[in-house]
Structure formats: C-alpha cells, structure tokens
Subunit: 258 residues, 2 copies
C-alpha cells in the first residue's frame, strides 16, 4: 500500500484488524506530500513511481491508500501490472450509495480529489438519481497531522466546511481523505446524529479481504503478519505523526530516495 | 529568487516596492512544497536544483526567499556560484538584535527552520547575551494559503502558538517564515503593542537594495522592471493563492518540470 504520507495509516489500521495474518508494506511519499494541491499529471507520475517500488517488493495486491491518487491515477496504475489494484474511492462510494435513504450524499476531500469529480462519477455510475455535494476541506489535513483533534479550532473549522453540506440536507457524508477519520469526533458533532458517516478506510479494508478471499490469496499461516514502513523523507517526523494515527509508534521506518 | 511555493511573494512585494526598476524572476517549487517538514538533505537538494534553474536565466543576485531553505542550504548555495546569494534569516535576525531592548527575542517559523537553530546561531553571533525563544507554528502556512487571515480560527491558533512566547516576556518577535506577514494582523493582536514585530521580507528587500548599490549593480534605466513567475506544478493554484499575497493575480505563470 502507498499514500502520499501518513494518512493511509487509517487504512493500514483497518487492514491489520481485518487481515491480521497478512504481511504489509507501507510506503509514504513524505518527500512530496501533500498530493492534494498538485496537478493530476504530477500525481500520476508520483503514483507510478510508488507503485514501481512496491511491485519490486513482490506484492500480491496493491492498495492506493490515498484518495487524491486514487481519484486521478487508478485506471493507469491498474493497467500497468498483473495484480489487483484497489483504490479508496469505490469502496466508500458504494457504501454511501447503499446506506443513503434520501439520495443526498456529501463528500469531503482535498482540493485534488474534489476537483477530479471521481466520487460523483463513481456514485452516479451506481445510481444516477443521487445528488452529490462535494466540499474541499484543506485545513483538515494539517489539523489531523498536528493532532488537533479536539478543541475550538477544529470545531470551528469543521463548522465552516460542513455547514454548507448540512444545509443541503445530506443524510450521508463520505470522508474522502484518509486523514479525516482522525477528525471523526468533531466531524460527527458538527453533522448531528441524523447524518451517517462513511469511513473509506474501513470500506477499503473490507474490499481487500473480499478480493483476497475470492482469489484464494489469503495468507493461511497462523502467525501474525509482519509490517514494513518506508518513507521517501524524514522518517523521524513520520514516526511522530504516525502516533496520532496508530496510537503507537511504528517499530521501524526506513527512508528510500524519492 | 526562489521559494518552496507562494510564501516568497511577501519578499517579492517588498522588492518591487524598493527596487521598481529591477527585472525579477520568481521560482516557486510548488511540486514539492512545503519544505518546512522535510529533512535538511532533501531541502538542500531541492534548493540546489532551484538555484541551477535561476543561474541559467542569467541572474545577477539570488534571493532565497524561504526561511526553511535559507536555514539549512545557504552556505552550500553561496559556495556554488559567483553571484551574491542572500537568504531571509540574517536580515531579520540583525533587525531584531538592533531593536530589542530587553534582549529577549521570539522567533516563529516552520518545524524545519526552528529545528535548524539558524536564527539562534545568527542572533548569538551578533550578540551572545540575547535569549532566543523559538516556536514552530505549522498551521500558520495552510491558514495563510487558504486566506484565513481573520476570524476566530486564526486568532485561537495564534494564541495557542504565541502565548508561550509572550509568557517569556519577549519584546521582539521575528516572523521567520515568508508566509507569516499575511497573518500580521492576528499575530500583532495576540502579542500586544509592547512587542515589536520583525518582517523578514522587508529587511531582506532592504539588504538586496544595499548589496546592489554597493556593487554598482542597480538597474539604472527609467523603465519599470519586468516580472516572470515560474512554478514546478499547478500554475492555476499558484495564481489563485498569489492573490492573497499580492492583492492581484500575477499576469503570467509558467510551469517547468520539478
């Protein structure tokens, strides 16, 4: 799996919960994070490079644990290699379509993800009658990375971003950025209990389990999986920020060149 | 001049005010912004690449309009080329030393700048008796880029970062990141009128004028200078965000490869 940085650790966390026997290699492209404000061409180039590194490690499935990368580069990544390639957008979109009753779905994400229109396209392919309301929330990523998950600053910021969506009377909100589950508390508080929250990380982990089972690729040994973390820069900061995501520091983080 | 992104535009703005006849080439490394959370080696590599591009344009002086880059890469950049190379740290540090009466100076900047200790070193080289109190303010950059320069979120964030410094009874604060002059209002409000604010952008522009005069390099034609903007990614976003910094959109922004 790869992400632009630490955000994909929310997906990692769900994966190890659901598939405790699998070995996982996590690559965080911390030399070039964030992807959310980059152009589509640049995101595709970075994503191809990340994928090449992981393919060389002999992986059996690739999870693109970054909404921005998934939104623009998934078809290209899937074309290049002979293994299943899974993004975080389709699983979240499918879940939202299943649970929305009033057919009004909100999507929050980075500028790149929102601009790509990937959620709208995926949701409309599943049900063209659904109305989708998207909103970029650029300050959520730095807030999550700094661990500001509570207090007035994050609450006011959430209100600023989410009020236009609640005014549209959405009944379902997709957290379309892997950082956002860290801010689940203030997001839910701002939405109220009548709006259901979709965590793409959870849905993606379920989908990975499903694919591995269907293809007979589940690791059947009874021993626990091993985890390796690679970053393209500043392993020290990754370890520190990862603590907000995992609740514990990753044991070993190795730096590779970007 | 180069910066990791748009922040250096605060320096650009002061330069064109002070030296209206000079042609300026501005390079924003928007494919790899922000530098503030990267490791020193990575920042040096990116800075050398930016410098190479500008040297190829035939510049007569280089301004490193990024505190993070200035803090770790300036001696290396200065060594490589035969033109004056100026960073933003020394001018701001010198000004702070001149105006501080109680010899207690605060410095705010990115994680990279604060961790480098460059301001402490520069200030202590000028006056070893001065006490320096540094604080990283990682949320100031995204707030400035989003244009959140007023309102409760930026005020509460400023309070969070600056209260530890006011408690140390500083009488002078250096804004050690080129983004921060955008947030001058909330920063000053939080500090109170007894603390003097040093704007590195202003001090750097004065220093550039001084060097050009001393070396007889001032452009003497009576016509106004021309300005060229290059970015390594997403010119569209640069144009948009630049508006918060310049009050107007730059006429033309060209993309070059990172």
């Amino acid at each position: 799996m790869f992400d632009s940085g630490v955000g994909g650790l929310t997906v990692f966390k769900e994966l190890i919960r659901l598939l405790p026997g699998e070995d996982i290699i996590y690559l965080g492209d911390t030399a070039r994070v964030p992807y959310g404000t980059r152009s589509a061409n640049t995101i595709i180039r970075y994503s191809l490079e990340n994928t090449g590194f992981l393919i060389d490690q002999g992986i059996k499935i690739l999870v693109v644990a970054c909404n921005t990368s998934s939104s623009v580069s998934l078809p290209i990544l899937a074309r290049h290699h002979g293994i299943p390639v899974l993004g975080v957008i389709e699983p979240g979109a499918r879940r939202a379509v299943t649970i929305s009753k009033n057919k009004r779905i909100g999507v929050i994400g980075t500028e790149g993800t929102v601009k790509s229109g990937a959620y709208e396209r995926t949701i409309h392919a599943l049900d063209p009658r659904i109305r989708v309301f998207s909103h970029a929330c650029p300050l959520f990523v730095p807030l999550a990375e700094e661990g500001w998950t509570d207090g007035p600053v994050v609450h006011l910021t959430a209100q600023h971003y989410l009020t236009p969506l609640t005014e549209e009377k959405i009944d379902t909100l997709v957290m379309g950025c892997t950082h956002y589950p860290i801010l689940k508390g203030p997001i839910m508080e701002c939405l109220g209990s009548h709006v259901q929250l979709v965590n793409s990380a959870e849905e993606t982990a379920k989908e990975v389990a499903h694919i591995l089972e269907n293809r007979n690729l589940v690791h059947t040994s009874s021993s626990a999986g091993t985890y390796r973390f690679y970053v393209t820069d500043n392993a020290e900061r990754f370890r520190k920020v990862a603590t907000h995501f995992l609740g514990t520091q990753p044991a070993q983080v190795d730096e590779i060149g970007a």
